[in-house]
């Protein structure tokens, strides 16, 4: 126990509030403001892997590390689409996941936002469209924002989320 406490104390806070890389700072402040203004509570996200290679998942998981500290930005991952404001969809939509993705989409309450993540989600990626894959997410459900990258960095994912909850100009 003593070692645990000593470790916590010695590491201190690493979350990148000021000072931190500018880019990250800008995104975080924008996020906090938007979420407070739009929702007045935490933004709830449900992740759906519709056929990814699992690379995008690794970067989504990075968002929860102490540097990006997603929960500190008022964002939570939730276990059920029924609690979600936003669906974060990775991968091309493969045929065997089409029905599941449509059901998740139907289960999320309106108004719902969809962010398609990664080159696969944006365009179908290297797989494109083939008998087993329907390609980009927007071929299957409406998409608000598409975040390219293979995989997109955590900062890019955060930017995608800000863009999704910002009113179109």
């Amino acid at each position: 126990m003593l070692k645990t406490l000593r470790k916590i104390a010695s590491i201190g806070l690493v979350s990148e509030l000021p000072p931190g890389p500018d880019e990250l700072l800008r995104v975080r402040r924008a996020l906090d403001d938007r979420i407070a203004a739009v929702l007045g509570r935490a933004l709830c996200i449900r992740h759906v892997d519709a056929g990814s290679c699992n690379g995008c998942e690794l970067e989504i998981q990075s968002l929860s590390n102490p540097y990006y500290n997603l929960e500190g930005c008022n964002i939570r991952f939730v276990a059920s689409p029924r609690h979600a404001d936003l669906l974060l969809v990775t991968g091309p939509v493969v045929k065997n996941m089409e029905a599941a993705l449509k059901r998740v989409y139907a289960a999320a309450p309106d108004p719902k936002l969809v962010v398609a993540l990664g080159d696969c989600g944006c365009t179908g990626g290297i797989l494109g469209e083939c008998p087993a894959s329907l390609g980009r997410v927007s071929n299957v459900i409406p998409v608000d924002v598409a975040v390219p990258g293979c995989p997109p960095s955590p900062v890019r994912i955060l930017q995608g989320i800000v863009t999704a909850i910002s009113p179109p100009v």
Binding site: K7, V48, S52, N65, P66, M97, A100, G125, L127, C130
Partner: protein, 491 residues
């Protein structure tokens, strides 16, 4: 006939250090398999090639102490009436591989289990457990966390698991078909996306097969840089898992600390290679990015700090009674069962299966590195955690060694597309276990056939056994301790 005789009759195959191929008749197909089993070898993978004309061949690749033996059985054209003898009685791992091969090629084995695997258009029947108080819990394909999709059907009494049946194939993308549409000199890009967490292992295995077929030797600097990437991949994944395992045991501190270390490592990787995840770094003939000596030093320094912190955190995990209690005895896979199921890689080594391709069938630079094989006998979550802790340290040692003495010279050479019908096999020990890529060239720089194999094929069925007698709430922890790939087996 003993394995050695088959081996002596077989012809060398290009690619990994010790691969041989052997054409067999139907009467010898099962005999080779049982001789491999008698000699302590196992079935690594199985696939079917079907030509447009309808004739086909089935291949079984065996991991043996002599090397990888690929047996080929030619099958006549004849549609659904053509069968080959199933290997499931000798190697249980064959069952799903054979069913997947049928879904992809239409060529069946004699396996009485004819349920579909990758094809979800045909209905899938789960095995029912009957009895008083037995009920079923179905989970997935969409899970509660940020993980890949798959379906788990638990049959339970109270909280106790009587049976778990996995139904996978949800992220089947048609990878093998897609390979055949890519130029052979571009296929490594798709290979690194077979299972994103094993990008280096798959793309290296692919390039190893390709370079062998083209007869192009890898410059030493390229081989060393690939090994740097492979060990970074191993270390990053172990960090991720060690954190998640602490978290699943109710110790959020572990997740915070290990995910911080993983981010430190990813940022250092990004500084050295220009990307956090190492997709498209391994290319035919070498690596896409060279690393300056300054960047190599900086990376080695981060690795040193991370590894020192891992030792400290291990002390904390070991002393934490709650964590110890959850890890010890959970999800136990006894060594005999692991041997019977042919469990591979990290999970196999945690159950006494002392195989590591970096030691047993090393390619350069592992031939010079004397990698320590980490083996535990416990077979429980604690053993899989211990293997991760020790392998992370070993990767740290290898990385510091590799980075301190990168050979001078080119980091890549050009590779020509191999001649049509050339065949090669790559074998690389990824963080999860041995990854195999079988590659056959088509005419004019095309791919006739590419079959990538992730060790998760062997290890998913082992998870069904490891959970028996445990309680449902321990499943996330036990599942995480294996951390198997869905994408890698759904193809």
């Amino acid at each position: 006939m003993p394995l050695r005789r088959w081996w002596e009759h077989a012809q060398k195959i290009a690619g990994a250090s010790s691969v041989r191929g052997l054409g067999v008749g139907a009467e010898h197909w099962l005999q080779v398999a049982s001789d491999v089993a008698d000699a302590g070898g196992l079935l690594h993978t199985l696939w079917v090639n079907r030509e447009p004309a309808g004739d086909a061949a089935v291949y079984g690749a065996y991991l043996t102490e002599l090397g990888v033996l690929v047996a080929e059985l030619a099958l006549p054209a004849g549609g659904e009436s053509v069968y080959y003898p199933g290997l499931e009685d000798i190697f249980p791992a064959a069952s799903r591989l054979q069913r997947a091969a049928f879904d992809l090629s239409g060529v069946r084995s004699g396996d009485p289990d004819r349920r579909p695997w990758l094809n979800h258009d045909r209905p899938y029947e789960f095995v029912r457990v009957d009895g008083e108080g037995v009920h079923e819990i179905g989970v997935g394909p969409v899970h509660a966390g940020t993980i890949e999709p798959g379906h788990f059907r638990f049959s339970v009494v109270g909280e106790k698991v009587l049976r778990l049946e996995e139904h996978l194939g949800y992220v089947h993308k048609g990878l093998e078909q897609r390979f055949t549409q890519l130029p052979i000199l571009q296929g490594h890009r798709l290979a690194s996306r077979v299972s994103g967490d094993s990008a280096i292992a798959f793309s290296w295995a692919y390039c190893q097969a390709l370079e062998g077929m083209s007869g192009r030797a890898l410059p030493p600097r390229a081989a060393w840089l690939r090994a740097v990437c492979l060990e970074l991949e191993r270390l990053a994944n172990h960090l991720g898992d060690l954190g998640a395992l602490g978290n699943d045991a109710g110790f959020a501190f572990g997740l915070a600390q290990f995910s911080r270390l993983k981010e430190d490592l990813l940022r250092a990787v990004s500084a050295a290679f220009g990307r956090r995840y190492l997709f498209d770094i391994v290319v035919p003939g070498g690596v896409a990015v060279d690393v300056s000596s300054q960047a190599a030093r900086a990376l080695a320094e981060v690795v040193r700090t991370v590894c020192a912190e891992i030792i400290e955190l291990r002390g904390i995990y070991d002393e934490h009674e709650g964590v110890r209690d959850r890890f010890t005895g959970a999800g136990c896979l006894a060594p005999e069962l692991a041997a019977r199921l042919g469990v591979l890689g990290l999970a196999g080594r945690a159950s006494g299966q002392a195989r590591d391709a970096r030691v047993d069938l090393p390619c350069a630079p592992y031939t010079e590195l004397a990698v320590a094989k980490i083996v535990q006998q416990g077979g429980d979550v604690a053993a899989r955690v211990a293997v991760r802790f020790e392998e992370a340290q070993e990767s740290g040692r290898l990385l510091r060694r590799l980075l301190a003495a990168l050979p001078e010279g080119e980091h890549a050479v050009t590779v020509d597309a191999p001649a049509a019908d050339a065949f090669g096999v790559g074998l690389i020990e990824g963080w999860r276990g041995p990854v195999l890529v079988a590659l056959q060239a088509g005419p004019a720089g095309s791919i006739r056939r590419c079959h990538p194999h992730d060790p998760s094929w062997q290890n998913w069925p082992a998870l069904e056994y490891a959970i028996l007698g445990n309680i449902v709430p321990d499943f996330p922890l036990i599942n995480k301790s294996f951390n198997l790939s869905y994408s890698g087996v759904d193809l």
